[in-house]
Symmetry: C2
Subunit: 406 residues, 2 copies
DNA sequence: CTCATTTATTAAAATAAATTAATAAAGAGT
DNA sequence: ACTCTTTATTAATTTATTTTAATAAATGAG
């Protein structure tokens, strides 16, 4: 026995814990696997894998989930995570609203609530969020003990190490970081992640990017975000800001961006820019059905323009097409630098479907060297916002597993 | 004993080989380490690490290299690679000439020969290269048996898996890839790598980027190349083309690039472009000492312009400064996408020192969000072309170790 | 010179894990 | 129903490796 002071875990413990966490993660990611497969995958013997799986079953982490297919002979028993061992709480926050979701460990949605909380840079926001969440959990009768941790996605430059969103500094009060405050209040581990990064993980684990190693996700919402996945892992950059496609300069004599620079991509291809362009066009007397779509006093939003386009409104189609071209040019730049296998377009503007994706694809063909194009596919997300929610979940769980079995 | 047909290596062999290759790589990269450190590093016990080191010593891979410092008590014995176990042959090829270099495993230069072979896209080139190399090895009395492998760096889009340079397709004859031909002729493993990628590895292992995790290397030569190192590893992209900064469009109404696109960065900021700009200026009658620097009939080259700038020639300084600004703008784009810790400028134009680096830095300040700048440093390489040579060497050895101890 | 301190070496003991083998179980095909 | 094939289970055996401990070696400090 080692004394408490010299709590240096032994080599054997380290290796055993590594195997345990590998197994848990594999079970989470694959859904279910046989012992044979796991043993081969992690270079362990079958008895030894069996032993660990049995331990994990005793501890309630793992259950038998059925049997697999067999060409001949006895079919393998499949094991999976005990989906009810813990639940997770996901807070998905954006500028329009906030979703509170509870998942089980099989990514099954348990309960969900859409809350009318728009992200803004104030101390009050976090208080309101905590209040809403508390109410939600109480109403649903979900005890803190049944929660494994909290995952939180939001737009902005997120410094993961510090647990801070630098785009919304006022969410951090005095000396307590955003993550620390939530962690303190709920007594649960928090995983903070940028919304586009989360989407990328979701698409990689469960969507169009499954099995791919090099993936870009373009998220067109209020601004333009780029999610990057390289060698099968999310890439964050040195300080977590990688992928700021929205603030590369594309027009030297363009408009002033909210970031203070001139002619950023954001000033042309964001949801914000689209509305501005539409308003300008309407004011200039362009023919369009857009004004008719608005109720008395209702402000113009992106979904109106998308709807108009789907109704054949030439003006709206034109706006989306121009936006797509410019966006495609920006994506072409990213493609030259990252050389990905797949680019996935997501976000509110992805609802515009081919009105966006066609010009994007066209621009990529125009601006990319053929060497890049040949190995590249451009797709509109099929998972939609589910990618982001599942992405946060995957990120959270991967984080928790490392913590739990360190 | 397992029969030959069922050569499935056991779990124990796999683990042991992994530890062996880890140790060898660690010894190569660190130069020398103590057994204690290695055991801790790779989660093995001291006796077990000792055993493997002793085996490796018997096999001639490892030698004692001295003793390390000790605050108190017996100083640790340090072990290192046996530098003479094998030598490596490095072929460093570019459009001006070719260098043949033999290193030992401690990266010490054994012999070096500069060969007057300019890279060109023809079958003859490879024959000439093989001939020169043969002669070089014979003249130096270096037997094939003493060589562990051959590392080869050259510009162009290199498909590592296929062993082909797609920019110079004629180096590949009929059905034999470039790498396969060399491998066949010399009977040695070949590691092919893009020159800028090699430079990046060199700077990371032995230069300014040592210890950094996220590094960009900008190589300004005939064209603009970008070397990318993320999470401590070189990043190649899905098909090995990542980092084609030179062919992102920066001028919608610019010049036609040799790649067929319009207004690529290459058309403004490459060595080729610099000479074109200088010629145009001279023809337009700009005041400059450039013509005086040229001997009768000598063609203008980049080093003339750099020399003129160092002599205070305003025209040349102006040219370099404009080029630096444009290059900096391009780098700013890459910085937004990769969020690196350090950007290292290398290549022939790096010789221009502050005439290039100052405007580059200025442009980055102008075009980068402050979040990126705060954690970023821009440096001119201190290793120069040594970075590339050592980079190829490191790449080759890392490759060989994996092959040798699989 | 002696002591304290640290690394090295070696061997013995203990443990963990792999390997092996034998048997059982669960289907699929004939 | 029987064979074939594969997985599962279990136990015995063997091997590898860790752990422990005791001793030796190397150095600096007092």
């Amino acid at each position: 026995m080692t004394s408490i002071s010299e709590e240096i875990s032994s080599v054997i413990d380290i290796r055993r814990n590594r195997l345990r966490s590998n197994l848990i993660l594999e079970l989470y990611q694959s859904g279910q696997t046989s012992i044979n497969k796991m043993a081969r995958l992690f270079h362990a013997s079958i008895p030894s894998a069996t032993g660990i799986v049995n331990d994990l079953m005793k501890e309630g982490w793992v259950t038998e989930t059925g049997t697999g297919p067999a060409r001949a002979g006895r079919p393998p028993v499949l094991y999976g995570l005990n989906a009810q061992k813990y639940f997770t709480l996901i807070m998905d926050i954006n500028r329009h609203d906030t979703q509170l979701v509870v998942f089980d460990l099989a990514n099954q949605l348990i309960v969900k609530k859409q809350v009318d909380l728009k992200l803004e840079d104030s101390e009050d926001f976090l208080d309101a969020l905590i209040g809403e969440t508390d109410g939600f959990l109480k109403a649903q009768g979900i005890k803190r003990e049944k929660l494994w941790g909290i995952g939180m996605s939001m737009p902005g430059l997120i410094n993961v190490k510090k647990g801070v969103n630098q785009t919304y500094p006022h969410l951090t009060r005095s000396d307590m970081s955003l993550a620390a405050r939530l962690e303190g209040y709920f007594g649960l581990p928090i995983a903070l992640i940028n919304d586009t990064h989360a989407t990328t993980i979701g698409e990689h684990r469960f969507g169009l990017a499954k099995g791919k190693k090099h993936v870009l996700t373009v998220n067109i919402d209020w601004g333009v975000g780029l999610g990057i996945l390289l060698k099968g892992e999310v890439y964050n950059g040195a300080t977590g800001f990688a992928g700021e496609l929205g603030h590369i300069q594309v027009q030297p004599d363009g408009l002033l961006c909210h970031c203070g620079k001139i002619g950023c991509l954001d000033t042309i291809t964001s949801g914000f820019a689209l509305i501005r362009q539409a308003r300008e066009g309407i004011r200039a007397g362009r023919m369009t059905i857009l004004p008719q779509l608005l109720k008395e006093g209702e402000p113009l939003e992106t979904h109106h323009i998308i709807k108009a386009a789907h109704n054949g409104d030439e003006f709206s189609i034109d706006l989306l097409s121009r936006l797509g071209m410019e966006l495609g040019k920006g994506i072409a730049t990213a493609v030259h630098l990252f050389n990905p296998e797949i680019v996935i377009v997501t976000g509110v503007l992805a609802e515009a479907g081919p009105y966006i994706s066609n010009p994007v694809e066209q621009a990529i063909h125009k601006y990319c060297l053929s060497d890049f194009k040949n190995s590249l596919s451009i797709r509109i997300s099929e998972l939609g916002s589910k990618a982001r929610l599942w992405g946060v979940q995957a990120h959270l769980i991967e984080d928790l597993v490392v913590k739990e079995f360190s």
